[in-house]
Structures are given as structure tokens and as C-alpha cells.
Symmetry: C2
């Protein structure tokens, strides 16, 4: 858990509120957190969802392990400590973006329950919706897909600390949305998420 | 400069583009970087600009040293190294938010030219507009205002490494916008920025 270092720091309250931005956009910002094994289909469904939301006139933005690690988290590796800091920072970025009004689609293996719960807490404290989406796929199926050839490298010992092989994956116990990507079509997955967002009133202006 | 640690990392290109989001919003995302001494008026003008942009139906969001240091950068202090990492991370967050379509208003003392230029480079490489706004105010005037009582503490030796007192401020040599907050009214400052944004075609859809 990161420690607060800076003192003499005060929150500067603006006069434009989150509700003002939500009314401008006709939607409410939120963090959707896709968690699952490498190859489970997290980015695939996020990419498709992004298109579906645009078609509805809704603003979304994708963050994923790969593009974040080339930027904000370029100085982090894959040790347990660095993975935790990786997820913490992404959680904070996503919270800021969701506060700005964006539907943020985060695709991260994020294997540890404690890390995901920390991000959930950050959002709950700020009263920003956090929606955990379990992208569920058996290890056998994910390893068979192996879209980036990473399981093969991990089995050969060329990659260490690989989730599902020599590092654990802790599945969500009570996710807001549970996708079974080895049984559902991509279209069914997207429809399920859009329906859940509508149910939560995130695709319209906030109630007065 | 942060070093790239993670390997086996690839950029996942989505199918929704920055232009798609800009067309949806009727604006183009950009980073506005307000730099200047503590008490120079950075947050004051950003707060007022945010209101003016909302009145025009434009989405903006403010990041500043105080709220960022309570979140994404809570594990950083005020050493030269931590200040550099602070600005680097903010630059990356702002770049992501600007890419999503938001006009991001960053108020940071950001005293070192090298740090600000690093953020500028990040944006240039990604072809995202970066607008440096020099919030210029003499040290005498800023110290007279001393809205948070920090200069008094710094003079008394209770705060170390305070910009302008025992740490340098390196003024921008060629900022996109130069405000003189000890000579201009707040309204004149906001008008100058809005005019500059319009001139850069950021307040309308991108040209086809």
C-alpha cells in the first residue's frame, strides 16, 4: 500500500461538478474493470464495447496493461510489488478519467483480489461507479488460444511470474458482471455489458 | 528519466480513433499546462476557465499538484527526483485524458524546464496538442498574496525546497500563452486562453 508522503497538500475544490460534466455528456463516468487470465478476451471485448458505445453517442476510453506499461507505468516491472503499484496507479488514473465523465474500460490481468479491492475502495470513497467484469475463461482454453505466444514462453521458462503458470490468479468472488468467454459470443458479451450500464443509469444524464 | 522495465509489451490498437471521440464531443482534447510560482494564480485561472468552457458546452478537467498528490502521486515527496517523477506521471495522465477528448487543465508549479519539456515531448510524439501557459507573477507579489501561508513557513525554515525561496523556478522561454497575473484581470486571462484555443481549432470538430 503506498504511503502518503507529501504534507502541506490541500484539495482544491472547483466550481464545475461531476454532475455538470455528466449533464454535458449525457452519461455518467465510471470505471469498468475487466479482469481475467492472459488470453481470456479482456481487450477483445473492451475494443468491441468501445465501438458499441460510440455508436450510441457515448464516450469511452480503453486502458490496458500493454499501453499503460509503455507510459505512466514504464518504470514498473512484474514483481508482486510492482504489479500492485501498477494496479494502484491505473486505479487512480481511471478514477480521475471517470470523474471527468468518461466510461473507462480497463483490461488488466490484475490477478490479486486485494489489488482490485483497493481500486474498488478508491472509487467507493469518491462515489464513482466501479464495475468489476470477470472475463472468465479456463486456463486450458486461454493457453490453447495463446494469442501472443506468451504461455508457450512461460512454459519454456522464458517468462517468469506468469499468471496461471507460476503465479496465481485469484478469481473475483462477487463481480458485477461475469462473462464466460468460452461459452458466449462476443456480441452476447457486449450486449450483457451495455444492458448492465443502462440498468445502472450510466448511459443517461444523472437524475436531478 | 524513467527507464522502460517491462518487456513482452505491445500497444493494442483500438478501432475507435481520437478523431471519432473529437467528432462526438465537438472539440479536440489537449493538455494546457499552467506553470508558475506558488500563489501566481494558476489554479484560480484554471477554475475560471473550466467554468467558461462548460458554458460553451466544452468538456474540461483540472489536475493540480494538490489533488494529484493525494492520489496517483501519493507516494512521492518534494525532492528533485520526486518532483521530476511527479511531473512525468502527471504528463502521462494528462496525455491519456487529452487522447480521450478532454481539455485537461494542469496547474503545477513545475519549476524545471527539463521536466516541462519532457511532457511536451510526450505529447508531440503522440501528436496531441500541448499548450504551455506561463502564469507570470513576481516573487514579491506572490509572496505578498501567500494564499496558503506557505511562503511564511518557507521563510521561517519550516518548509524546505520551496520554489522561489530555496529552490529555483525556471521560467518558460517560449510559452504558447503568457499571462501577467499582476497586471491582467481574471476575465482578461480567461478570454486570452479561450481565444488561443479557438485559434488552434480545438473548440470544434477536427477538419476532415
Amino acid at each position: 500500500m503506498a504511503e502518503q508522503k507529501a504534507t502541506n497538500v490541500y484539495w482544491h475544490e472547483g466550481e464545475v461538478t461531476r454532475n455538470d460534466r455528466a449533464n454535458l455528456l449525457g452519461q455518467q463516468g465510471a470505471t469498468l474493470w475487466f479482469t481475467g487470465l492472459s488470453g481470456s478476451g479482456k481487450s477483445t471485448v473492451a475494443v468491441e464495447l468501445e465501438k458499441a458505445l460510440l455508436a450510441k453517442g457515448k464516450l469511452s476510453y480503453r486502458l490496458d496493461g500493454d499501453n499503460v506499461r509503455l507510459g505512466i507505468n514504464k518504470n514498473l516491472g512484474f514483481s508482486a510489488e510492482d504489479r500492485t503499484e501498477n494496479i494502484r496507479r491505473v486505479g487512480e488514473v481511471s478514477k480521475l478519467m471517470a470523474d471527468s465523465g468518461v466510461l473507462v474500460l480497463n483490461s488488466f490481468i490484475s490477478p490479486y483480489i486485494q489489488d482490485r479491492d483497493q481500486v474498488r475502495s478508491l472509487h467507493e470513497v469518491a462515489n464513482i461507479p466501479f464495475i468489476e467484469v470477470f472475463v472468465d475463461c479456463s486456463l486450458e482454453e486461454a493457453e490453447k488460444r495463446d494469442p501472443k505466444g506468451l504461455y508457450k514462453k512461460a512454459r519454456a521458462g522464458e517468462i517468469k511470474n506468469f499468471t496461471g503458470i507460476d503465479d496465481p490468479y485469484e478469481a473475483p468472488t462477487n463481480p458485477e458482471i461475469h462473462l464466460h468467454t468460452d461459452k458466449m459470443t462476443l456480441e452476447e458479451e457486449v450486449d450483457a455489458i451495455v444492458a448492465a450500464l443502462a440498468e445502472l443509469n450510466l448511459l443517461t444524464e444523472p437524475k436531478a
